[in-house]
Symmetry: C2
Subunit: 336 residues, 2 copies
């Protein structure tokens, strides 16, 4: 039986249940509008570790462990963990997977990682391969800044289009059955590259990919955008968000139910984050801090969670390349 | 129906067919014992591009395109491409996926990437999600050296335990049906970390992971090591290979049919590569240059292809961390 729908969408015959989720954020994210919803807020940017890189790894361990607790399971139940982060060689994830001691598939999807991992983890359960799987993603402002841009001590100015890399991690545990919410569809993204070469304008670089994947998802499933209570990208920020809205408007589609995790995570006016949040941890934390809880409570019935990633590096930009964007969409439903 | 076997193995109910494969290598790899078997050997380390990083991306495009040609398909047939490389943010793969224009899942598994991607691509086909999938991996001596160690111009000495990062890429295209060879099982690896902190001794760092995954695979499937005509890791090199042999010997198991892609790719005596080859491209090229052809010809009936990766970074080692190893095993059979 084919579970392929249209061009790029996988329909899950027996939608896996989201059995647990966990979130952890830094001080700034805890001071944002979603602060009260996270499982843990650390005022120490080192999270008790000696380096920011180790801190990010510990954040992932916390998120997965908390997700397992909510699911009432031990790590030993996991047939597969999918995870990734922004650091070179994804070390936050590698060392977290070492500590967790579970079968592990490493991902690199930049800020699309949470959606990519959630999607693949769902396919393994629905495909009959796994009873329990998990997905995790993280980012840390301090590890990202010194790797992608400047050492923090340099005190560089930020451009108006810049986003703020979230210090955050989120994890999800999936099971064959449970009270939900459920993963019903996964739309695998293709790369779209509008030719942006400015590393401080990720929203514009990724917006066409978000538009392409959302449009494809709606065509593949035969759904209209209004089917969803919420279509949420992560993380385009304010500018990228307005570009997606504009791209749909050109098609005659008014997205009244659309927002972005980078816009939700911070108070954009008060918290000096310019265009909003970014980083793998941003959408992971918004998903696990707010969206899954609302789906469980039934205040949201249908959510299209669209992870957006920019697959460049400082080296590729230095060699004159543009920023390729990708977006993977995962459809979540409160009931099967 | 559960397709989980034992602790970590996924059994494919209707083993996907390897419908095509492609390989491309650099000059040194072309001068090695497998030289005549590769689809293309480039004597230009830039492969016609302006930078080594762009060259590596072009190598991936060639490998996937060649694999699709062998399968008699266009890129548009692909429901998903899994790929990765060693570079920061996996840029060789990101830009290759942009050029190919197919649904793309980015991986980071270091040198285990080919096995990780081949495994996941197989699960999507067997799970009924995809009719056609592909996996690709690459490495380039010059991009890896300057990123992980020293600029080539520095002319640093290599230690005796060092391996040589292969300039190579390999890709595989999978289909629901075809004359084979077939992917029958996927064993997902857990991280094993023996505490090695020497970035020039990857073989020792990864050997326990290879031992753990092979042992688990044999236990999960109820097979003895002699079931396989060939058990092949990639890429432990000569030293890691001897450590795996020794670890099995302690269990009373003599691995008479075991070797390593890093040992196969070069003439270790003649080509000054110390312990042998490494890099995502090494096992990918040996798989697509030699192993799949022998399975197709029937000179090999059963092969256990075990991708081994070291999930560290220069930053993590600089912060005093050790090198975590992982190994994913994929069982290949000439007939279903």
């Amino acid at each position: 039986m084919s579970k392929k729908l249209g061009r790029q969408t996988f329909a899950l015959a027996c939608p896996p249940a989201v059995a647990g989720w966990g979130s952890i954020v830094g001080k700034k994210e805890g001071e944002g509008p979603l602060g009260p919803l996270f499982d843990r807020i650390s005022t120490d940017s080192y999270f008790g570790e000696k380096t920011w890189e180790k801190a990010e790894s510990v954040m992932q361990q916390f998120a997965v462990t908390r997700a397992l607790e909510r699911a009432g399971q031990a790590a030993s139940c996991l047939d597969a963990l999918f995870g990734g982060d922004l650091m070179n060689q994804c070390i936050a994830t590698g060392y977290a997977a070492r500590a967790l001691g579970v079968p592990f598939f490493g991902l690199y999807g930049a800020c699309s990682t949470m959606a990519e991992g959630l999607g693949l983890a769902s396919l393994l359960v629905d495909g009959g391969f796994a009873a329990w799987t998990a997905a995790v993603a993280s980012s840390h402002f301090c590890t990202a800044e010194r790797q992608y841009r400047m050492p923090l001590e340099y005190g560089g100015q930020r451009t108006p289009t810049a986003q703020w890399t979230a210090t955050a991690s989120g994890a999800v545990v999936l099971a064959q059955n449970g009270p939900g919410p459920y993963v019903t569809h996964v739309t695998a993204g293709k790369i779209c590259d509008p030719g942006i070469k400015d590393a401080n304008n990720m929203g514009a670089a990724m917006a066409p990919a978000a538009y392409d994947t959302i449009r494809t998802h709606l065509a593949d499933t035969g759904r209209s955008s209004s089917f969803y209570d919420l279509i949420v990208t992560g993380d385009l920020g304010k500018l990228g968000c307005s570009l997606v809205t504009e791209l749909f408007r050109r098609d005659g589609v008014e997205l009244s139910n659309y927002t972005d995790c980078g816009v939700l995570l911070y108070d954009l006016e008060r918290q000096d984050v310019h265009c909003g949040g970014s980083g793998c941890g941003c959408s992971a934390a918004v998903l696990t801090g707010r969206l899954l809880g609302e789906l469980q409570a039934g205040t949201l019935q249908h959510v299209l969670f669209c992870g957006t990633g920019a697959l460049h590096s400082p080296v590729s930009l230095g060699q004159g390349e543009s920023v390729p964007g990708i977006c993977h969409a995962v459809a979540l439903a409160a009931a099967r």
